[in-house]
């Protein structure tokens, strides 16, 4: 997590997708995922169409497919769950690759995998094309409570500082010959976590002093504003609207 501009998933670029205002993109991705989730699982072709849509967005944004696919590993625990389903769900049995599996179980597995994967892919595209600062401004623009956005921006600003402290503590432990190898060493690690909490909290108090010293009285002054034109909103709406069309077809066909 890099403070300020970049973060782990962000890919710098100047594509039309990068240039869209953050709140348009957030709203578009959210609506797209809602549409995907409400699509009936039997409409297999619809999910194919969604994947093509995301592929098109990725192409416009110049985000390579491999980059999106790599991030899908975040899903693994649920993929494992999905793979179990054909074996644990009761119902009509069928034979696949010489193993007896249940038909509703297969549908369940497909449902979770397809929707989950599309959801992750859409989020990755959002994160890959939007700067961190812009994401926060977008959230604020979407009427997230300002205090929540402030908390989030402090978390982002100090995430690196705190993880940096954690890393230095770990180096200090290892330079004194300590290597955490098992449950026996949890005590030492927990002490570090406790020390980290104290440092974080005390830093929070110092940051507050620094803010108060510069006239802070409870609300952040508005320094940056993001605005979106009608054209930008329409451009962002292409993704969820096309998806909605596919979804409706999926219900009727």
């Amino acid at each position: 997590m890099g403070a300020g501009h970049a973060h782990k998933l962000y890919r710098h670029g100047r594509s039309p997708v990068h240039r869209l205002p953050p709140h348009c993109k957030l709203a578009a991705v959210f609506c797209f995922v809602v549409v995907v989730v409400s699509t009936p699982r039997e409409a297999v072709w619809a999910f194919g169409a969604y994947a093509v849509l995301l592929g098109a967005v990725a192409a416009v944004a110049r985000v390579p497919a491999g980059f999106v696919l790599r991030r899908l590993v975040i899903e693994i625990p649920f993929v494992a769950f999905a793979f179990l389903m054909p074996f644990v769900v009761p119902g009509e049995q069928t034979v696949l690759f010489g193993v007896s599996v249940s038909v509703p179980g297969l549908w369940d597995a497909w449902n979770v995998l397809a929707k989950g994967t599309l959801g992750v892919a859409a989020s990755v595209l959002l994160a890959a094309t939007t700067e961190l600062r812009a994401l926060l401004l977008g959230l604020q623009r979407l009427r997230l409570p300002p205090l929540l956005v402030q908390i989030a921006s402090f978390m982002i600003r100090y995430g690196d500082v705190i993880t940096g402290e954690m890393r230095r503590m770990s180096i200090a432990r290892r330079s004194r010959g300590f290597e955490a190898r098992g449950v026996r060493h949890w005590g030492v690690l927990a002490k570090s976590a406790g020390a980290l909490f104290i440092r974080s909290y005390e830093r929070g108090e110092r940051v507050h002093l620094a803010m108060v010293s510069r006239g802070y009285a409870g609300s952040m002054p508005v320094i940056d504003e993001v605005t979106a034109s009608r054209a930008q909103w329409s451009a962002a709406a292409v993704l969820p609207c096309t998806a909605l069309l596919i979804c409706l077809l999926g219900w009727t066909l």
Partner: protein, 257 residues
Amino acid sequence: MTLSFVPSLDVRGLAYAYPDGHQALFGVDLTVERGERVALLGPNGAGKTTLVLHLNGILTGGAGTVTVAGLPVEKANLAEIRRRVGIVFQDPDDQLFMPTVREDVAFGPAAAGLRGPELEAVVRKALARVGMEQYADRPPHHLSFGQRRRVAVATVLAMEPEILVLDEPSSNLDPASRRELADILRSLDVTVLMVTHDLPYALELCPRAVVLSDGVIVADGPTAGLLADAELMRRHRLELPFGFDPTARPTRNPASH
């Protein structure tokens, strides 16, 4: 102009005990005239930070008064006091809490109500004074420690303070950054109160020094004279670096370059 005869900072009989009962200040008297650069010296635990936190009203409620350019530090005028007293804290990471340098420098003036091109101009000027204009859009995290300290000074300068209060400005700086910061501080046309353990730095920058020990001011005079008083230094746990002789070196000033 009558205003120029009003001292930048006037502290009278300031005493303070923390809520936990620990008493840190026992009646501090200190006057800093406009345009002066004063070093506040003292051992650890002398009450230096406690005194600093009184200057802009973060701590109040003890005995005594603090006046900044004629304005008493009271709840009613805290906003103006905090604009007039710019504190640069020891750890720049505490001070730079916004996502970019520009937003951080803008924070104070924006909180005071400045907007648009005026705000932009103030920010640019403050960054120019510390030589950090080209870093405006960088996240503070990606700067070196010395650069972060300079930006921290800029965040305070943007508020056009009456008095600049620096808490250990030279700590953690490499010699080059230390010298750069000294040049910046010398170039500024504001009253400076510098809290430090770094005695050579105090001698280099501040013609006058005061020693705070056990919650009271125990010495006040020309920095070179105070540092040369070995007995005073030893009594208050102030030690000069090995091989440093305050009497042998004249105070450096811009003209000597």
